[in-house]
């Protein structure tokens, strides 16, 4: 039973007209994991989550929650997930306990279990003293926590939380993080998205970095960081001369630290560019440049490019600095 992954997607594709929102996402989340989907706005995180929450049908590909295909048996999937959308409203005219009672009924929680369950959940999300308040009177952070509580009423196997900390002030954000940590200690499996990486870094057992509907890299955050630091993408510009370029490519390929060399024609006709994945420190890069010139290659430019992944990584980490400062 433990071997069944809680979330599994294979080649998930969602197309809106001719726009690809999700372009072949593969995810694998095991029981008890806190898995982060990280990427800029519009990367396809929300769409992926909506597919898993059975609110959207995938164009193609497969998605399973606890082994149940989402498009074939959505009702069963819904019993096993708690979903918190990125934008949502609450029923203002209900009291806090009525709100949770309503969702408890929605998920078929028997009446004798509902009352104690509501008390427990309100304690977990820190709204114990707000039981009889109207939802209307809650602050944004409190509503967010109430919404989180509603995802827990039926004790689901999986929580799908879409940007649970968005729009919250720093303090409310810390509170939200504390709650997620508590849920982790309770052994919940959580799929959480964010466009801010540090928010998730210490919490997640694994992340997938998504952009333009594709998973660029997934794994633990430290692994991703290490691989980014180790792997530089060098951009080497040479005088445009077919023979010279071919010779340079061949010469580069003999170095074991160099990956597949890509040729990039463009810009002015005078120069041509090679993109060279290189596994080495700055020292090693300088060494490579010197030996290249020694070997007689006519190098015009030599620089380190940022890869898509790294760019996004910088963006998602950079943004957090701005937002934390604000």
């Amino acid at each position: 039973m433990m071997s069944v992954p809680v979330v599994e997607t294979r080649g998930l594709i969602k197309r809106y007209g001719d726009q690809l929102a999700v372009a072949g996402v593969d995810l694998l989340v095991g029981p008890g994991e806190i898995f982060g989907l990280v990427g800029p706005n519009g990367a396809g995180k929300t769409t992926t989550m909506k597919i898993l929450a059975t609110l959207l049908a995938p164009t193609s590909g497969e998605a399973y929650v606890t082994g149940i295909p989402v498009d074939a048996d959505p009702i069963e999937v819904r019993r096993r997930i708690g979903y918190m959308p990125d934008f949502y409203g609450v029923y203002d005219d209900l009291r806090v306990w009525e709100y949770l009672d309503f969702f408890g009924r929605c998920y078929g929680v028997p009446s004798n279990r509902r009352a104690p369950m509501i008390g427990e959940l309100l304690e977990i999300v820190g709204l114990g003293d707000r039981r009889d308040a109207y939802v209307e009177s809650l602050s944004r952070g409190m509503r967010q926590r109430l919404c989180l509580a509603h995802t827990l009423v039926h004790d689901p196997a999986l929580l799908i939380l879409d940007e649970p900390a968005s729009g919250l002030d720093p303090r409310a954000r810390v509170e939200m993080r504390e709650i997620l940590r508590e849920l982790r200690s309770m052994g919940k499996t959580i799929l959480v998205s964010s466009h801010i990486l540090p928010e998730l870094a210490e919490l997640c057992t694994g992340v997938a970095i998504i952009d333009h509907g594709r998973v660029l890299r997934s794994g633990s955050i430290t692994d991703i960081e290490r691989s980014l630091r180790a792997n530089a993408l060098l951009r080497i510009e040479l005088i445009a001369n077919e023979a010279a370029i071919a010779a340079a490519s061949d010469w580069l390929a003999t170095d074991p630290r160099v990956g597949d060399v890509l040729r990039h024609d463009g810009g002015s006709g005078d120069t041509a560019r090679l993109e060279v994945p290189f596994d080495g420190s700055a020292d090693a890069q300088a060494e490579l440049l010197r030996s290249m010139i020694d070997a007689g290659h006519r190098v015009v430019g030599f620089s380190q490019a940022t890869s898509d992944l790294e760019e996004i990584f910088l963006r998602v980490t950079g943004q957090s600095d701005e937002e934390n400062a604000a």
């Binding site: 049908a57 309503f102 009924r105 929605c106 078929g108």
Partner: protein
Amino acid sequence: MTASGTTFGSVRRSALREFGSAVWTIMVKELRARMRGRRAFIVLTLYLAVLALITYGVYVVVGPAARAAADQQGGFGLAQANASRLVGQYIFTVLSIFQMIMVAMIAPAFTAGQISLEREKQTLDLLISTPMRPGAIVIGKLLTALAFVILMIVAAIPITAIVLMYGGASVDDIIRQQVLLLAVAVGVGAIGLFSSALMRRTQAATVLTYCIVLALTLGTAMVFAFWTEVAQQNQAGFVQEPEQAPEQLRYLNPMVGMLDIVSRVEVDGPTRFTSSLYELFGRDLASTPVSFACDGIGCEGFGGFDQPMPVPVDAFGQAGRTDYWWPRVAISFLIVAAVLTLASMRLVVPAGMRWALRRGGARRMAAASLGAPMIEELPETER
């Protein structure tokens, strides 16, 4: 969770129970929000006060004239009974038509926001991502919205029942009136719910609903009248039955139904109050009073001793076809309600998931009927 679902029948029963409890869930939530505080109480009280006032007004206006006529005819026995009956008829007629107008106007107001408001407030996704069937959500919403309208209709029975004291209208008439009012409330409510599911915005849904209601009442009446007029002109010169527009045009006209019920009560033919309505919705709906012999004491006014019981006359001038229109109207509205509720269910489900919802249900049923363990029977995740 029901665990013992190994035969088809019990699965069916448990699915039904699940559906019912989902409907109830929606109703409890909606009623909590809606009936809280004094608002609902005050609205209902005001409505009944208006009905009572109308009843009293009719009595004040019609009473003296009826009494005068009775005195003219001797002031005893049947003459007095006739005067009393007349007051009863007037009260029943005015109350019935007023209530029909109110139901046609109020029921959509309660339902036209039910689903579009959930969309506008972004609560629909939360609701749909629960395992409740969309059908249960839609029906729960419809029933809650109608609960108050139904309360208004039923709460007016005691006021309407005053006519039983005067005579002129019987318990049967009140039952007819109630059945029609309830059917129209359900039908018009479903129209509101459907536009609410169809339209993104509540405003648009409300406008659409009232346009449909207007089209059904005034629209069909005018088309019917015009069509009949043209048909009869084409017939000119021939010795034939006058042609009429297809009567189905009237099946969804709540006023036609109510005038049909009212005309049964108006045994003396249209009154001041209803004659203009018959002009609008069809003269043929009115009962034609059977002429009676005047015996010299006076046959003007409100009828004499020896007035024979008039025979109700139906749309085509044939005697004896009673209860013709209103049952058709009531049934048509119930059919419309069923069809539109089904359509609303489909509109609520996210596109692309519609097939899956049914397939999933069918598969679980099949699995259960084969005696295979249902997915629900798998152990719940530990708390």
